[in-house]
Every structure is written in structure tokens, then in C-alpha cells.
């Protein structure tokens, strides 16, 4: 349903646009209908940029994105506007996800109005009250302004708005990172239920591996703009191969975790992406780095069973 082909996005900065940041570096993958693809990585690894590229909210530097066979970067603006309701996004910060000057009801009704789907006010009201029920929101909130709602309630409103146009694909960009633990569980349970009922495909972006584990069928681990490991969920947790994935796994705090020694320490901060060097991007922080890692950048290799990894030390060949 969604297919990314060699997608890249480079941001230029500096006075003469000399400095460049490879936010997304040659990424390819597919998401099927009804499937959830999890995307994990630290802040700044490019996962948000990737999400936005898939919806063409930003223009790519290279590559293609196919939505039901159509290349999104090839079609005209009008065509794109028509397709937009089918591919939607939920953001991380509830506070800025809704227009603070618009009542909740109007925010939800907006897509219906601009795409001229509904013919009368009554029909609009009915559609919206059905949606409100579906997402378990108190109808009293409809007449209120966003600042009167809690974070969890706002995310529900955002979902209602998205559902007005029955999307086929949803990008969830850390939708629950600013929410409390129990509200998070509620919102994600709701998302899963909706996906089950409506059958849309989903790109679930998060920095929390535990969350991604619950929500996704297939997971990609991203580092500095590249996929370093891609596999089905079970595989990632049982047999992760890339040192970065292993580090993330061990660092994922868990009250269920066994012992301290298992914890692989990762030193330092994520390296700057500006004007990157050659070789493996993880080299400076990798506890198992070798010489070849500094010289040659590893590419994603298929290790069998749909499990891909970009590391010299795990090359199948």
C-alpha cells in the first residue's frame, strides 16, 4: 500500500548553504494494509522527517513514495490534495495539534467541510457524534476550546478529525510521548481497536522499544537517517544483530529486566549529522567497532527471513 523507494532528505544550512544534514539517507521499505510498521530511534535520527516525507508534507531530495501504486512526488497538486485525507498524521504535542482559536467541533468538522463531503449541517452533526462515540470522548467537549481539554482528550479529538475521512494510512509520530502512562495505554488501545475495525496501515514512530513491540508487526531501527536493522517484531527482540539495536534493547529500562551486567553502556551523545564522515555512522559509539567499520559504510543485508541489518560484523556473506 505504501512503498518508499530510496528516499532521501538533505537539509542545507549555513550562509552559503555549505553545511548539510542527511536527515533521511536512502531509505526503502513497504507497509501493507492493516499492518503496523514500527520505527524506533533516538531524537534527531530522522524518524519524524521520514514520517512527513511519506505524506509529502516536506519535499524529498531524492527517491519516491508510492501510495497504492501512485508516486506521490510525481502527481499534480490538485491530485495530491484529493489524496490527502487518505493519508494522515498524529503528532506528539497535543497542545499544538489543534488550532487554539477553534472550537473542538469545528476542528473535527473542517475536513468534512473543505472536501465538501457532507451536504447539510444535520448530516455533519450526526457524523461527528458517531465519531465521538467511537473514540470515547465526552460530547460536552465539542463546544470547548483545546486549552480546556487534557492531553489524552486532545489526541482523541485529533483521531476523530482523522477518522472523518476514513484514512487508509496513518503516521503516528510519537503520539503518546507527552502523555501519562495510563492515558498512553488508553490511547494506544483505542488506536489498535480502530485499526482492527477500519483496516488502515500505520507507521508507528517512537523512541520506546517496549511500546513499539506492542504496536507493531515489523520494526525498523533508525540511526542518523539510515535503517540499521529491520525485522519482524519477534525477531528484533529475540535475535537483534546490530550493536545499536542491542544497545537500545539493553538500555530500555524495565522493571522486568534481569540484571545490571546485561546492560550495554553506550557512551556519548548522538553524533552531529552535519557534514557526516565516511564509514559506519555508529562507529564512534560502537563497542565492537573494527577497522573496516571506519572505512566502509555497511549496507542493509538480508540475513534471511526478512531480517535486514547494516553491520559488517553480521554480514551473512
Amino acid at each position: 500500500m505504501i512503498k518508499a523507494d530510496n528516499l532521501s532528505k538533505i537539509f542545507y544550512s549555513g550562509i552559503f548553504k555549505k553545511c548539510y544534514t542527511k536527515a533521511v539517507d536512502n531509505v526503502s521499505f513497504e507497509i501493507e494494509k492493516g499492518q503496523t510498521f514500527g520505527l524506533v530511534g533516538e531524537s534527531g535520527c530522522g524518524k519524524s522527517t521520514l514520517g512527513r516525507l511519506l505524506l509529502r508534507l516536506i519535499e524529498p531530495t531524492a527517491g519516491k513514495v508510492f501510495f497504492n501504486g501512485m508516486n506521490l512526488f510525481d502527481i499534480r497538486k490538485k491530485e495530491l490534495q484529493r489524496l490527502r485525507p487518505k493519508m494522515q498524521i498524529i503528532f506528539q504535542n497535543p497542545e499544538s495539534s489543534l488550532n487554539p482559536r477553534m472550537k473542538v467541533y469545528d476542528s473535527i468538522a473542517e475536513p468534512l467541510r473543505i472536501h465538501k463531503v457532507i451536504r447539510s449541517r444535520e448530516e455533519e452533526k450526526e457524523r461527528i457524534s458517531n465519531l465521538i462515540e467511537m473514540i470515547n470522548l465526552n460530547p460536552e467537549h465539542l463546544g470547548r476550546y483545546p486549552h480546556e481539554l487534557s492531553g489524552g482528550e486532545i489526541q482523541r479529538v485529533v483521531m476523530a478529525r482523522i477518522l472523518t475521512m476514513t484514512p487508509e494510512f496513518l503516521v503516528a509520530d510519537e503520539p503518546t510521548s507527552s502523555l501519562d502512562v495510563s492515558v498512553q495505554a488508553q490511547i494506544l488501545a483505542l488506536m489498535k481497536e480502530l485499526q482492527h475495525t477500519l483496516g488502515f496501515g500505520c507507521l508507528f514512530i517512537s523512541h520506546d522499544l517496549n511500546l513499539v513491540r506492542h504496536m507493531s508487526d515489523r520494526i525498523a531501527v533508525m540511526y542518523l537517517g539510515k535503517f540499521v536493522e529491520v525485522a519482524n517484531t519477534g525477531e528484533i527482540f529475540k535475535g537483534a544483530v546490530h550493536p545499536y539495536t542491542q544497545a537500545l534493547l539493553s538500555v530500555t529500562l524495565s522493571s522486568n529486566s534481569v540484571s545490571e551486567e546485561q546492560r550495554m553502556t553506550v557512551e556519548g551523545e548522538v553524533a552531529s549529522q552535519v557534514n557526516p564522515s565516511s564509514g559506519c555512522k555508529f562507529y564512534p559509539r560502537c563497542p565492537r567497532a573494527e577497522e573496516i567499520c571506519l572505512e566502509l559504510e555497511p549496507s542493509l543485508q538480508d540475513m534471511g527471513n526478512g531480517h535486514l541489518a547494516a553491520c559488517h560484523l553480521s554480514d551473512p556473506g
Partner: protein
Amino acid sequence: MAMVGIAVIFLFILMAIFAPFIAPHDPLEQNIVERLSSPSTEYPFGTDDLGRCVLSRVIYGARISLLIAIAIVGITTAVGTVLGLISGYYGGIIDEVIMRAVDVNIAFPGLVLAIVLASILGPGFLSLVIALSVVGWIGYARVIRGSVLSVKEKEFVEAAKALGVGDWRIMFQHILPNVIAPVMVLAMLTMGFTILIVSGFSFLGLGAQPPTPEWGYMLNEGRSFMRTAPHLMIFPGLAIIMTVLGFNLLGDALRDTMDPRLKRVKIE
């Protein structure tokens, strides 16, 4: 304080609207016999050197001052807001062009422009309104542009784009309501300033022409009689002071109401 401002302005607006009913005499009617007489029951503010009732002239003057100020502030706010919106939203070349226009404008003194226009179009209110409007929109444009730059990065704008909302609707439905507040305050404060400027120009002979009862012009007319008939300057002067003060108080109050609304005590 705000109430005082509102009351004062309201008073002047009423005065302007109901001028024909309130004014005891025709502001243009001359009565040479009674010229330069002090305030009396017949002429509560006295008469000027052509025997015209000063009170009536002050009352009718409210019309003129308010109308012109509204015209200028209205035009500048509208033009400045739209240009600021477009400039901030689209960025790139459009932004560059508009901002350069702003820069050119700043360098150009309004006074010079007013004089030039006066010589071309002849002195009068039209040239004044044009001159001040041409110079006045830049402040609003810059304020709006700044706010637009930060608002357009917010997620709800991206969300609107993702929903397929067109550019113009985004600008006017989503961004504008969220950036307009400081402009309203600025507009209110500028009203007072504009009245002052118009009076100033009229005082210099660039705006109002005889026999128009404009406050600044009346000040000018009264200058020669400062010693003998001070009431000719006192009353129009008071009128100017009161309206300017009223608008300033209103603007301050407006600004204060806008602010706390943005602050909410969040309990964690």
C-alpha cells in the same frame, strides 16, 4: 482605567455621530459681530476670529478626526496584516520583496511624502490619508510576519495541510486568528497617535484647509490670538488630549486582557 478610556472614546464617538443634533450652531456660520468673544451661555466655548462657535467646531471636529484616524488605521492595518501574512507564510522571494519594500518605506520620511503629495494633489485630507497610509502599514506587517513565522511551525498548521486545507484558508482561518491580538492592541494605540499626527499636519497647514473645523487647524488659527483669546486654543487642545489619552488607555487595557488569557495555572 480602561473604563475611563472607554467612556471618553464613547463620548467622542457619540459626539461625532450626533454632531448635527448636539452642536448649538452651524460650525461654519460666521458672526463677525460676536468675534473673539469669551465663553458665554450663547457660545459655551466662545467664538473664533470669524465669529464661529468654537463648541460647534470642536464637536464637528470630532467627526473629522475620528473618521480620518479610522480610515488611516483601517487601511494600514488591513494592508499590513495581509502583506505580513503572505510574507511570513510563503517566505522565499515573496518574503524578500515585501521586506525590501518595508525597508524602503522606513527610509522614507512620511513628512516629506506628505509634502510632495500635497504639492501634487493639492493640500487637503486626501493627500494626508494617502501619505500616512503608505508609510503606516510597515509596523503591522513586521509584527504579523514575526508571529506568522512562529505560528506556521505549529503542528496544527501542518495538520491542516495534511488534511488538504488550501493555503489561503490556512492563512486566514488558522494563522490569522492566532496572530491578530497584538495588532489589535497596536491599532488602538495608533489611533491616538494618528489623531495627533493629523492635527499636527493640519497645524502646519498640510491637512485641513479653511473653513474645515479640524482641531489641529483650529489650534493654528488660534495661535495669533493666544494672549487675547486663549479659549481658541484651549478647547481644541483639550479635545485632542482627551481623545489621544482615551485611545491609549483603551489600548493598554486591551493589551492587559490579551495577556493573562494566555497564561493558565497548570497543576501537576
